[in-house]
């Protein structure tokens, strides 16, 4: 295995990612505080939570547009295109590697380089997150900020409720994604390798 440096995360991705991570953390914290609000336990005032949540949501949308356009005008989008034939086999291979392979010190099946930045599992989750779940959360979030647009009632269930349930379900998925994301980012050569890469932009090894 040769030690060589490749620039995987250009400045714009790092900036976007930093902003994205901060905003999502804020959204999760304030979101949870609203979701489980009670009369007595007021570690965060409801109106403060609402204000932070709404502001972060608007900023996240802007940051998302930045990500979207950035991908559109560079070649970074290619990494997000999933090749359907053999997708499940590749996902399984990568999963098997994480479940057993790593412990048996196997070679990682899809080494990272400038051609392939994401392993199949990363690609699958990143694409799903960035082009499906996050947009759904943003759309339902905006709808709740302008409730006039929501149909009042459908099949005896308030439109607002349906919107909110979708929003909250999406939020839980992002939360779980984030936990897994943080963990698997420690699967580099050293636990800090990938984190360093996300800061400096350069990837130093070709595993995991």
């Amino acid at each position: 295995m040769t030690e060589k440096k490749v620039l995987l995360y250009p400045v714009w991705i790092r900036l976007w990612h930093l902003l994205n991570a901060l905003l999502i953390l804020l959204l999760i914290i304030t979101g949870i505080s609203m979701l489980y609000s009670t009369l007595s336990a007021t570690w965060m005032r409801f109106d403060v939570a609402v204000t932070i949540h709404n502001t972060s949501g608007v900023l996240l949308t802007i940051s998302y547009l930045f990500f979207f356009l950035g991908n559109l005008f560079t070649t970074n989008w290619r990494h997000y295109v999933i090749q359907l034939p053999g997708m499940w086999t590749r996902l399984w291979k990568q999963f098997r590697y994480y479940a057993f392979g790593v412990f048996l010190k196997e070679e990682c099946p899809f080494p990272i380089g400038s051609k392939r930045k994401f392993n199949p599992l990363q690609q699958f989750t990143y694409t799903g997150m960035m082009y499906f779940i996050v947009p759904v959360i943003m759309i339902t979030g905006w709808a709740m900020m302008f409730p006039e647009v929501i149909i009042d009632q459908y099949l005896k269930i308030a439109g607002f409720k349906t919107t909110d349930v979708i929003h909250v379900a999406g939020a839980f998925i992002v939360f779980i994604f984030l936990l897994i994301h943080l963990y698997f980012a420690t699967m580099g050569k050293k636990p800090s390798t990938h984190y360093k890469a996300m800061i400096t932009g350069y990837h130093e090894d070709e595993t995991g």
């Binding site: 609203m34 979701l35 489980y36 609000s37 009670t38 009369l39 007021t42 005032r45 409801f46 109106d47 609402v50 204000t51 994480y98 790593v102 412990f103 409730p147 006039e148 009632q153 005896k156 269930i157 308030a158 607002f160 409720k161 909110d164 349930v165 909250v168 379900a169 839980f172 939360f175 779980i176 936990l179 897994i180 963990y183």
Partner: protein
């Protein structure tokens, strides 16, 4: 703006107007034995003009009826007291015209005069409501200017909470009682200035103010809850009005004790759970939650953390 206005006129012309006409028909088709007698008064008080006899000539001229003395005939027969003749409450002497000026000194009956201890309306708890009302700030105002009738228009009020009217219509009806004075220049005695914008401006700390006003009643925040009565009547001083969001946006939402109080009781009897109305008509972030979704969410988060823990442990052991 213009398009909106035209659209409004069109809408009014096509739907609301005919609907009003039909409603009138309906009301007129119902049997009201008091109708004939009331017509004696309503031929003047139900119209914009009335015939004034000219002294000695036997002729009449049409004069304008003051807006404040006009009565909406349709609304009258739809009201809770639609079966009344005018002279049930007003002096019989009003049957002569011109009315005797001394009649103005006549003391009008209050709700309690008729409903005190009335077993037929026991469920409303008039006595408790009266007690509550006396504690409210409004009761300090001059009693000729302010009484139960100020909110409950004697010629049209029709209580809505115990009917199957939907929540947004109920909110609109109840709020119109307050707005009738608080933003209505037709009531200069009580007019606090401005239009709805003014009342919205007094509540800028409440985000989406107009949306809130469409979904909760003024009394939700301005009246003190009393479990004895369904509709709280003690309007507290403005400093004591509810300002904390979690009073509504939490599981122990006060809305369950006011706005949603009647319906959940009904629903509990028929359906066995409290959330039913709320999930059908309104949705209050923090108060209604999909308990299932929240549990599944938490369980999945915990499983993820456990999974990561196990993976880490094996990684460390096999290092």
């Amino acid at each position: 703006m213009n398009i909106r206005r035209w659209f409004g006129i069109l809408l009014f012309g096509c739907f609301i107007l005919p609907a009003g006409l039909f409603a009138q028909d309906e009301a007129q088709n119902e049997e009201f034995p008091n109708k004939e007698e009331n017509a004696l008064c309503l031929k003047c008080h139900g119209n914009q003009v009335y015939p004034m006899p000219v002294d000695g000539t036997g002729e009449t001229v049409l004069l304008k009826m003051c807006r404040g003395d006009r009565i909406d005939t349709v609304a009258y027969y739809k009201g809770n007291h639609g079966t009344f003749t005018c002279t049930d409450c007003h002096s019989y002497e009003y049957t002569t015209f011109p009315h005797n000026p001394n009649l103005r000194l006549e003391q009008m009956p209050s709700c309690l005069d008729c409903h005190d201890g009335d077993p037929a309306v026991e469920k409303y708890h008039f006595e408790s409501i009266d007690e509550e009302y006396r504690k409210s700030g409004h009761a300090n105002l001059d009693s000729t200017l302010f009484s139960c009738w100020s909110c409950h228009n004697p010629h049209s009020f029709r209580l809505a909470v115990r009917t199957d009217i939907n929540i947004s219509a109920l909110v609109k009806y109840d709020n119109s009682m307050c707005l009738n004075c608080h933003v209505n220049p037709v009531n200069p005695d009580y007019y606090l200035g401005g239009g709805l914008d003014l009342i919205v401006a007094k509540h800028t700390w409440l985000p989406k103010t107009e949306n809130h006003f469409r979904n909760v009643r003024c009394i939700e925040c301005h009246a003190k809850i009393n479990e004895n009565v369904l509709v709280p009547h003690n309007i507290v001083k403005k400093e004591d009005a509810v300002k904390r969001c979690v009073e509504c946006h939490s599981t122990d939402s006060r809305l369950l004790h006011t706005l949603y109080k009647y319906q959940p009781q009904q629903a509990r009897q028929t359906k066995g759970f409290v959330n039913s109305v709320i999930s059908g008509q309104g949705y209050v972030v923090g108060a209604n939650r999909s308990i299932l979704l929240n549990r599944i969410g938490i369980v999945l988060v915990i499983c993820t953390i456990l999974g990561i823990g196990i993976h880490t442990t094996i990684r460390i052991i096999l290092k």
